[in-house]
Amino acid sequence: MANISKRNRRREKEIMDASKNRREIIAAQFSRRDLMKMGLLTTAGFLIPKNGLSARAPQFGGGGFGGNCFGFYGQGGTPVSPPTTPYLEAMPIPPIAQPVLNADALTGPLPQAAPNTAAGEGRTRTHQAFTTLPPQKYYEVHQIEANISMHPQLPVQKLWTFNGTVPGQTYVSQYGQPNLVRNFNDLPANNGGFGIQSVSTHLHNGHTPSESDGFPCDFFGVTKWYDQHYPNVLAGFASTHPPTGDINESMSTLWYHDHRVDFTAQNVYKGLAGFYLLFNQFDTGNETTGFRLPTFPDFDIPMMFNDKIFDPTTGLLVFDLANRDGILGDKFLVNGKIQPFFNVKRRRYRFRWLNGGPSRFYQFYITKQDNTNHNFWVIANDGNLLPNPVLTSNGVRIAVAERMDVIVDFSSFAAGTKLYINNRLEQCDGAGPTDNIVSASQGNKVLEFRVTSDAVSDGSVNPATNPSFYAVPAREPEDETRCFKFDRENGQWVINDEVFACDDVRFKVKRNDAEIWNLEGGFNWQHPIHIHFEEHQIVKRNGNTPTLIERGRKDVVRLGENDDVELFFRFRDFVGRYPMHCHNTIHEDHAMMLRFDIDDVGNSNESDCGRRF
């Protein structure tokens, strides 16, 4: 049944495409004579239904190249990185950002609500909540080039950083304590091969007013600065749950990264990303209080995963400027180091796993030396604590930009034991994983845990006792339903057949409305779709209730080939422009993005749902 309806929808799409192509050609203002000259119009006035005009090209076969394709890169000419010895260096933990003393201590003028263009600020819009949620802590960050070693057997790399480290410094914040981050663009004149020296820093999953969100088109150039106001406030504070917001909308593991339109992949690959953690009275960062999750920072560890390519001759980082499908690296980095080790004590840890991209999907297992599994608990998806921990014996899948907070218990292992974070998901090209799970011995072991002999206490909650965290917020009837199809045509990534432009407002959401969004994946490709500002709940995935791990709040949804997912949203509190986009950053930069605006009027987009079910 599901297959039939999918086929029908694909056929409808083909018909739509064909008529759209005709409309486009007519809209391109060719005269009838031109069209006839070009062989596109018969004398009877019909457009000639040739391939390309009529419908999509014939369907092509399944993705992948069969077998274990690790190390195989289908894009001709993509280099294979030089060999590196694994586990030579300890995994770095990014430094914690330190606020300046007060607003006076910031370089430049005092922060203000209106953009300070005269003093070199790149912001163009006024802060929405500067007076109602005034900043309590002030940070200053400089985007600079720095020499970074990613592995001792490779040369030092000139990367782009926030304050000199990759990942950037971790912001540690509390709900109810707004921050202001003064963000300076001090990037060098030379980009060294890729990247562009204009930036827009997005706080990923922040309930952030539009002008501080890091919208892709809010980029600013070298020597400019930008005050980003992060209210650190729970959704609903000005609407459904005044005055502090809905505690069940708490999020914990956020990250920030560059979002410059058309150049996000290059700039993030070059290093511009870091963590932003939020605590509250339940998720306290102290294992003796609240939910009693492992104490930050000793036993609560952020880990950013990236895959990268290095030139076999020079050993320098390579970004493939000619790839539009998705870039797959053959070197695996955790917190900026290739295959590091990490010493752990014999107790429970909270790891905040983040897939920092650009294009690879992971399925992480904890593998013992004999290649058997060590089970662990997933406690948060996209940085949002689930109602209860979920024990996994089959690893956890993490698409680009997804986060999974997990609890791993090392207490049963003798000192000297080694374990591995092991990616066992096969992926051969940017299209997405093949869904084959390779054997543990064939996986990418991206990090080695070394169990130490230190005596240590563990005051954290045992996930096996099934502790409760936040409830999933109740849904309400939707005011609006919108439908989106993520596909590819003529090598262009499209959403509902359209491409991105900064000034193209595709639809308007009415502030405080509840909405259902239906996202449909295209043929032969997978996309992790990220929607800014509000979290969603997955109501249905391909008609079914989602898995326990997906039954929470999320900001990224994985769209497999031809998947249909139904999302519930409530857009509250702030207005302005926000994007929805694929977070395979190569797809994103090739126009798989749209802009929607939140205002107090809204509009309907239901016509696009006509082809549904």
Binding site: K37, N51, A57, G77, A189, G221, F263, A322
Partner: protein, 197 residues
């Protein structure tokens, strides 16, 4: 000093500011210096004559394309109009044929005339193997082999860049001409302001 040598001198001074080593790597990886023929019958070297030190806009087409090419060409014609005198002065437009066997310089000349293309935008043909190498190295191919063989399905993106600064992006050819122009103008290093709206 005449205008031409002034511009050349400017280019030299400017290029000494950039990282020539990474530029050489980028050039070797993406910009093979193959010989091409313009729609006006002129022989040119791809890197030396068309790319080096320039802001460029590159797309693929073929004269008898019935799919998306006419739309893209029409959008680029409008973009050329909007960019006015800058095209041919510091911004250059290139359309590479995907049918070098059929698209002789004369055929491309006819195509350019039919679409109202102005000077500063060159249509290029060459040896089929050179064109294929360019298509792949410039990023107009895909790792999906079947999709890659379908000529009608691979020509929608327009590459734009500033060779001296090593800035390279792509904009969809089906985008509004104003948006294509906006994207191209980002490659002008004096223009880093975000779009309005």
């Amino acid at each position: 000093m005449n205008r031409r040598s002034l511009l050349a001198a400017l280019a030299v001074t400017r290029s000494s500011r950039v990282d020539d080593q990474s530029r050489a790597v980028t050039r070797a990886r993406y910009f093979p210096n193959v010989e091409l023929t313009t729609h006006e019958g002129k022989k040119v070297r791809f890197y030396d004559d068309l790319i080096k030190d320039k802001i460029v806009v590159i797309n693929l087409m073929y004269a008898d394309c019935e799919g998306i090419c006419p739309t893209i060409t029409a959008n680029l014609v409008k973009a050329q109009k909007l960019l006015g005198a800058r095209i041919g002065r510091d911004i250059f437009m290139y359309s590479l044929t995907l049918s070098p066997e059929k698209d002789t310089p004369a055929a491309l000349n006819h195509y350019a005339k039919m679409h109202g293309v102005k000077p500063g935008w060159q249509f290029l043909t060459g040896k089929p193997e050179d064109i294929e190498m360019l298509r792949r190295s410039l990023g107009f191919s895909t790792g999906n082999q079947k999709l890659d063989k379908d000529k009608t399905n691979h020509i929608g993106m327009v590459k734009y860049g500033n060779e001296r600064r090593e800035w390279w992006g792509m904009v969809p050819g089906k985008a509004k001409p104003t948006w294509i122009v906006e994207s191209i103008l980002w490659m002008d290093e004096t223009n880093v302001k975000p779009p309005a709206g």
